[in-house]
Point group: C2
Chain length 295, copies 2
């Protein structure tokens, strides 16, 4: 039987760290605030918004929602970003995407101030992940990628020197988590839809991170008994009538060392990471006034 | 006996492409120009400068050298960058590094205009490599990383689906070449000083790119008879009284399918890539006036 790497305890530990920092900030008269920018009323966005608000509340972070009309113009949208950028009381920005097709999304995300880009939406933040120097510069990694790393850290799983295999190469999770594992001295292999002999490659991994978004595509042929699996997939499972991961949990559960469940694994940690990023952004700001030109 | 992947023919093909583009640009009244910025008179810088000048001449690209005093101030240095940025006749900037310790190198390189950053010195360019969208945005990859890719392309070596192992994780070559191989659909593994079982991992590679900078550290234990080796290492070999690569060439020559020699491999392609980048930068500029805010 594998060790089940539950996310709730990891989230709780992160929340405790965040709460302590929030108390310190409040003593200095600062209340960390996340500004959520939502265009339209998409169901997924509203669900994410409710979840994020709740997570912020838990640790004492304020949330302000800028609910914008579906037909907002590019100019107006850019003005909103610029206003939040210069709002001293706003420490983090979460912009729901994709934006309506009428907007130049890439331009808009590029305008988010790097020090408030708490979910690594723009290039300034991504380059921090790629160079491994993001932390030093007050840049934030994508929340889901950091959630995966926090789980490994919490459960004290050795990364240095180990073979890590990442399934998926998206900018939101695959590539960033690969770089973060590399920073922790793992030997990292990135697999994707064009990979040949995927089963063999996966079966040799000490740590397997799956972020393909393909229901039950990892099974007993991809694993070994010493393997730790971090399942980042969130897929609709019609058979179960609920959410399942990329990994066929029941099929591998007795053949691996440890595994995150879905739901209840990585997903449960992501919004705690977001809250932690907002708090860190507020904290960084109290320590120095970043000169945007310096970045 | 392995196929020897010589760089000279690759450089020649690249130069021919560049020359044709230069002729087209000249017909429009544009002469591509590289501005080399050198601080002090370091022997390596001067040698590189001579080589670069020669490569530019070969394809009809002008070179202007800004030779600056060792004791130049930060302000003066920033002014030079800003002048070259706004000089309409300058299409590429090559800044020799490391700069003297008295200067804030990171700040200075961050000021180089992305569209003139022909050797991928700053973060704007690196993020293009990381996202795989650098080409679309007129960003340039590090010249040595592209040189390695050009060799694979010239010799028609299949990359898609193949296992590529990159030794080294520097921002100049290891990480960028890993991302470029991934863009070409290789399954990429990044190894480094902390990697365990390096020999076994390497011996399973279809393509092995070594960029460790460690003399003869790759030998017959790291290879297989179907393997293609790109040796990016440039190391002083006292025994030979000259330059050798990371790979013990004589030791593996009969055990692999193909290999780049050192010297005469990747090194011979790099400055042709640089010239090609300057030409492309000039060409891009004639096609559209990039709006810096858009990047």
């Amino acid at each position: 039987m594998a060790i089940i790497l539950k996310g709730d305890v990891v989230a709780q530990a992160l929340n405790e760290e965040s709460s302590t920092l929030v108390d310190e900030l409040k003593n200095k008269g600062i209340i960390p605030k996340l500004v959520i920018i939502r265009v339209g009323e998409k169901k997924e966005d509203l669900a994410y918004e409710r979840g994020a608000k709740k997570s912020m509340e838990k640790v004492g972070v304020l949330t302000e929602v800028k609910a914008l009309p579906e037909d907002i113009s590019q100019d107006e949208m850019e003005k909103v970003i610029s206003e939040v950028n210069s709002d001293e009381s706003a420490h983090g920005i979460l912009l729901f995407r994709p934006l309506p097709k009428t907007l130049d999304e890439e331009k808009i995300i590029s305008l988010i101030a790097p020090e408030k880009d708490v979910d690594c939406a723009n290039g300034n933040s991504l380059v921090g992940v790629f160079t491994g120097k993001g932390g030093e510069k007050g840049c934030f990694a994508p929340c889901t990628a950091r959630a995966a790393m926090e789980i490994l850290k919490y459960y004290d799983i050795k990364i240095s020197g180990k073979k890590a295999v990442v399934l998926g190469r998206s900018l939101v999770i695959g590539k960033p988590v690969a770089m973060m594992l590399l920073d922790e001295n793992a030997t990292v292999t990135i697999c994707h839809s064009k990979t040949e002999n995927m089963e063999k490659i996966c079966s040799e991994a000490d740590i397997l991170v799956s972020a393909m978004g393909r229901l039950k595509s990892v099974n007993e042929n991809h694993v070994n008994t010493n393997q730790v699996i971090i399942d980042v997939g969130i897929n609709w499972d019609a058979e179960k009538g609920g959410i399942s991961g990329d990994v066929d949990f029941n099929n591998v559960e007795n053949s691996v060392k440890a595994i995150t469940p879905v739901p209840g694994g990585v997903g449960g940690v992501t919004s705690s990471v977001l809250a932690n990023h907002v708090v860190k952004a507020a904290q960084t700001k109290t320590n120095f006034k970043p000169n945007r030109e310096d970045r």
